[in-house]
Each structure stands twice: as C-alpha cells, then as structure tokens.
Amino acid sequence: MHIPEGQYNLKEFCRVIFDSPERVLEGYHGQRIKAFLYLSDDGWRDYLDEHYETEDLGGITKFVGKYRNRKGAEQPAKFYAGQYKDDLRMVLTAETEEAIRQALRPVSEHSDCLSPMPIMTEDFQTMNEIVLSTYDDMRISEFKSKRVPSLADARTRPDVDREIEYKGADGRDRLDEFRDEYGVVPTRIQYEHENVSIRIDTSGKFTLETVNKESFNILFDLLSEVVVNVLELLDVANQIKFEKREVVPGNLKVQVPEVSSGEIDFDQQVSLMQAENFIKGTKNSDDLNFSFTDVTKQAGSLDFSAQVTDENRGSLFNVSATEESMRIVPKHDCSFPSLVEFYLAVIQLLDGGAEMRLYESQSAA
C-alpha cells in the first residue's frame, strides 16, 4: 500500500484507503485489502521492532518485512497495525497471500504477545445475520460450513460430522437449505453486492475485495459484534497460568503451587476417534504446530490425556478430556497466544461449538 505520510488513528487510516483506493493500491496485483485481527499484550510493539523495520504514523505502526516472490526475488512486504480496542490490533495490508504467509504469519506464530483473534462459531452466525439483514439483496457466492449441533438441527443423519464447501450464485439459499437439511453452519462466507464484495472467516481474517466505504463499514459493524466475546476469551487465556508461590509459614521458605487451569466445554459429546482425528489434524495443518506426547487414550467414555507442546513458542500444558470437556493445565512458559491458538484448533478441528473458560473446581455430585 502507498500511504501518504501522516499521523493517523485507525479510522482516519481506513478513510485514506477508501477515499483514494486507486492511489493507495496502485501497482498492487490483487487490488484488495486484507484485515487481520490480533489479540495483543504489552510487548507486541517491541516484538514488531525486533522482527521488522517499523515506523510510527501516529496511532498506526507501519512494519515492513521481507519475502521471496515466485521468481525467487526478495521483496518488501508492508503491513499497517492499528488499535481497534485495547488488546486488539487490526493489521491491514494489500500484500499477496504468499507475502502474508512468509512475512506476516511467522510473527504471531512465535510471539508470546500476539495471537490471531478467533471468532466463535456462534458469533460468526450473528455476523452473518447482521450482513443479511442489512442488505436484503446481498448475495453469497461461496461458503464453507460445518456441523455444529448446538447451533442447528439436522434432518439427515444428524450424527454425521460433516463439512461442506459450496460455490454458486445461489449461495444464500443454499446456506439455509444445507443448514436445515444437514445442520451445518458457515465458518467462511464470501458476500457479493453491487458495491460490496467481502469475505469473512472464523480465523479473524477479513478480505475486502471492493475497497470502499461500505466495505469498511461492514467490517467495523461486524467487529463491534464479536469484540466482547473475543476480549473475554483473551481475559480467560491470560488467567490460565502456573506459578510457584513462596510462603514462609515457619522458619523455612517453601513453595506452593498456584495453578489456574482452563476448561474447554464441548458442545457435543466427543469420542476417542474424534480426539485422535484432532491430533492428526493439528499435525497435518500448515498453520498449527502442536505436538502431543505422553498420550493415554481409552475408549468407552472418553479417557484422554496428553502433554501438549506449542512447538513455535515452546509452551507446554497438559490436557485431560472426558466426553464433555477438556481441562487444560498450564505447565511451562504458557502464554495466551498458545492457548488461544489451541482453542482455535479445537473449534476448527474438533467441535465448532466448544467454549473456553476458566476452570473452577466444583463438586461433580
């Protein structure tokens, strides 16, 4: 993006983009803007300084990384980070997927203070409803949806875990038909309208294919809808931690453990096979880098426990799951991005309706 020098806040920055998209996007192949939302913590700015060439444009931080294009030449990749809310950054860029993959993604992958903002499947449905009720004539040209029993009933074989990708001009009707028939709800949608073409998905990425005021308005409207739950998730993840506290009750200094563990409540009963597929899925994914060791698994009612490492960040936690929930016990260098990313993996690969909260010990009786 070619942004004129200036001191911006996020809104003003967006205005510069949509006021003169021709100038801002001049020379850019795709002519589209991508917005990524990141949960952040205090050290995020220093982290960018360490890994990029940075420049302050008022409330916006420009950061430039490098990537290799298809011809093998090294090129700069430009990104702009602004504050949407405390602890929530919006990164805007016009770079290609390849540049994003090489230059932007590694940031959050290894950082202890930045993590991609996941959107809970339920919030995503609300976002979709907002778009559709605001624009009667909004078309859906493409979507991906998956089975989430708590959000939709299915007429056909409701027990089957399924995922459907659809392309077609009648996507809006199809979405409803698939939902009624198969109980699937969308996790990625491409909207088309006279003036607007925008794509949203549950991993916190928004693609504005038409760069105009309307697209940005939709983006901000949708964000305001999910922000509460997302910041709550951050709050939960930040509280999941393990510390050794020193106490001096007598004449010795001794340690007592202070652990706050997390819990992911499943929306549907999870079977051993699903748990195994989840492990496989994280292994085969390009984006995730979790390893599972010390695994105990038994079918029946699910008895599953393992030690999980976030290989990118080196954080370590233990999980133990029943059919109903999975407890997360932090062990070593456990920071919120690892936990948020793990939760994102769970909602994408295991149970779309799962919710993460702080575990409070309680009698099971």
Binding site: F242, K244, V247, V248, P249, G250, N251, L252, K253, V254, Q255, V256, P257, V259, S260, S261, S291, F292, T293, D294, V295, T296, Q298, G300, S301, L302, D303, S305, Q307, T309, E311, G314, L316, N318, V319, S320, A321, T322, R327, V329, K331, H332, Y359, S361, Q362, S363, A364, A365
Partner: protein, 374 residues
C-alpha cells in the same frame, strides 16, 4: 556383545575347547530366550509406570488448582532423598496438618500385601516426622493422615483389605473416564468381620469414621470433585525411561538435529517439581543424562549449538518418545542377553577349570573358589 576370547582363567591349551563349548551354550541359551514376551513385559512396565504417574497427578490436582480445607500439594515423594521407602505425595494445609498419599494404579488380588506395605511406609513417615518438620515445612506437624489413592475399579478391594487389617488409611478413588476424584465413595461392599459393633447403625458410623478425614471440611469440599492430569511429570524413583520423557519435552531442533542443553532439562525438571532442593534437581538431571547416554538416547555433542544430541533421525516429539521407549527396551533386552552370555562364560570356565584341577590334583575343588577366579 559376544566375546569369544576366553577369559584369562581358562587354562592354556584349552582355548579352542572353550570357544566350542561357549558357542554352543550361548546359542542354546539365546534360542530359548523369549525375547518377544520379555519386550512386551518391558513395554507393559512403561505403561504401568505411566498409569501410576498419572494417578498421582489426578490425585494431587485439586490441591494444585485450589486449596480444599487449606491443603496444598507440597511435594512428590517425600523422604525420597533419605533412601527410605516413601509415599508418593505430601499435602499440607499450612496449619500443621499433613496428608501422606500413596498411589496404587493396580491392586493385586491379595490386597493385604499392599496394606502391609502401606503400614510400613506409614511407620517410616511417623519416624521421620521431625525430619519433615525441620527440613520440609519449617513448622510443626499437629496431625497426620494417610491416604491410598487408586483407580475406581480397585477402590472396593483396597478399602475392604484396609478395614480387615484394622489399618487406618483413607481410600480415594480416581475415575479417569470422568476426571473425578471421590474420597468417600470407596467403602467395602460387605461388612468386614472385625468391624466390631452391636448395632448396624454404629457399624456404619464406624465405617464412616474410618473412611473420612478428620477434618470434615476436606470431606465436604473434596468428595466427587473434578480433577485432571496436570502436575507431577517427573518422579525421581520412577523407571528411568519414564523420567527421560522430560528430555523429549526439553528438546529443540538445530538444523535437522534434535538436541538439548543441560540447563533446559534442569528447567523442565524444576518446573515439574515442588520443594526439591537444588542439589536434588541436579542429581535427577545427572542421573537422567547418564541413563540417556547408557541407552544411547543421548550423546555428547561436539558442537556449539547444544550440549547433548538426541540420537535419532526423527525430530518430532511423538516419534522421539517412541525412539526412547524402543532404545530402553532394546537396552534392557541386550542386558538380559549379556547376562546369559555371562552365565555361559562362568559355567564353561568353571567346567574347564574343574577338569584341569582334577587332572592335576585328582581332587575336587569348591565351586566358590572357581567362581572367584572366573
């Protein structure tokens, strides 16, 4: 390793004979060696150990996460540093009450042997009360209780044996399927003969008394509490292969080489333990590295990038965990085979020695002397 060179004790001129006899003996012994089942047993041993460690973890979790009746998890394997039989965990409520806990992931049919073992450990713990006060807590112990924790399917059996033996242990049971810990549900299904009381009500009361903690708040707060696998990853007296998992956890990858620094292992060990002295952590790490080298899982790395290399072509942690198990099993199997070879060596040496001695002196020799020579 088969050493066909005869030991020095073999008389001159007998070397060829020795080789022949020794070779036959080894061949015979190895042919009869049930390698398959031995290695299955060893893998089973690893699995039992894992079950045990996880049971400890499930048992202490409520005291790591919270503070039921003020009790916190204090340390795993108290008194281990003294080399005496010890319990698996120690809980403490900071007001002078302690609970020693023993985890039994399985209970044999004759559960009374377990009870006897527990009684012995209890006595040792009581005898070392002062040591715990002075070296661990820094304050006095007012009240000690003893707990045996087991998986839910063994609860009744052990509870019954405890009552029958007239012992005083409280049974906790862990239901790993539901991640629950129960402290009052484990009661014998029938009244043991020795539970003396005239009235059924009184008997029930007595059972209740024996099966619950003196501190009623603990009973109330803990019964059927949700629990989890979480802490206690390194137990100093666990079999070494289970402890060595910590090396897998601590490994990093340089180029294509999985490797680890001593200080990383140390940091993992110390974050998995509570109230171990620095020396004890150092000792555990020393033992780990030494054992890792012995089974050819670790080797010194003459490279600036790390102290030690993990001997494997794999880098993924789950693969490394498998490599670790395989190496340990192989090492144990080879050790058993070496034992057989040693037996052959001793037997053949003794045989040849005896022949010579007999030839020379025409009298028998005591076997002990021959063995000393070999």
């Amino acid at each position: 390793m088969t050493n066909v060179d005869p030991p020095e004790s073999v008389p001159e001129g007998q070397e060829t004979k020795y080789r022949g006899l020794y070779g036959k003996c080894v061949e015979h012994k190895l042919a009869g060696f049930p390698e398959q089942s031995k290695s299955e047993n060893l893998r089973e041993e690893i699995s039992v150990q894992r079950q045990h460690r996880k049971l400890i973890s499930y048992s202490i979790f409520p005291f790591v996460q919270g503070r039921p009746a003020g009790y916190k998890f204090f340390t795993a394997e108290p008194l281990e540093e003294l080399g005496v039989p010890n319990f698996d965990f120690l809980l403490w409520n900071l007001d002078g009450n302690v609970i020693f806990g023993e985890a039994k992931s399985s209970v044999p049919a004759s559960a009374d042997t377990v009870v006897n073992q527990l009684e012995e450990r209890k006595e040792i713990a009581e005898n070392h009360k002062e040591h715990i006060e002075e070296e661990y807590l820094g304050s006095e112990i007012d009240h000690m209780e003893f707990v045996v924790s087991t998986y839910v399917n063994h609860g009744d059996k052990i509870a019954k044996a405890i009552i029958e033996e007239g012992a005083e242990f409280i049974t906790w049971v862990v239901d790993a399927h539901h991640d629950e810990l129960w402290i009052r549900q484990a009661r014998p299904t029938s009244f043991p003969d020795n539970l003396e009381a005239d009235e059924p009500d009184a008997m029930l009361q007595e059972l209740d008394r024996r099966h619950t903690h003196d501190m009623s708040a603990l009973n109330g707060e803990l019964d059927r509490v949700t629990t989890s696998f979480g802490q206690a990853d390194v137990l100093p007296t666990a079999i070494i292969v289970d402890q060595l998992r910590v090396v897998v956890q601590a490994r990093r990858v340089e180029g294509r080489h999985p490797c680890v620094d001593r200080v990383d292992i140390e940091s993992y060990v110390s974050s998995s333990s509570l109230n171990y002295s620095e020396e004890r952590v150092t000792g555990i790490v020393d033992d780990l590295i030494e054992a890792g080298k012995r089974i050819n899982f670790l080797s010194e790395w003459d490279d600036d990038r790390a102290d030690l290399k993990v001997v494997s072509n794999y880098t993924a942690k789950d693969d490394l965990e498998q490599v670790l198990e395989d190496k340990w099993v192989n090492w144990r199997i080879e050790d058993m085979k070496d034992g057989l070879r040693k037996e052959c060596e001793e037997r053949i040496t003794a045989e040849l020695g005896r022949q010579k001695q007999l030839n020379e002196f025409g009298v028998g020799l005591q076997e002990a002397e021959v063995e000393e020579e070999s």
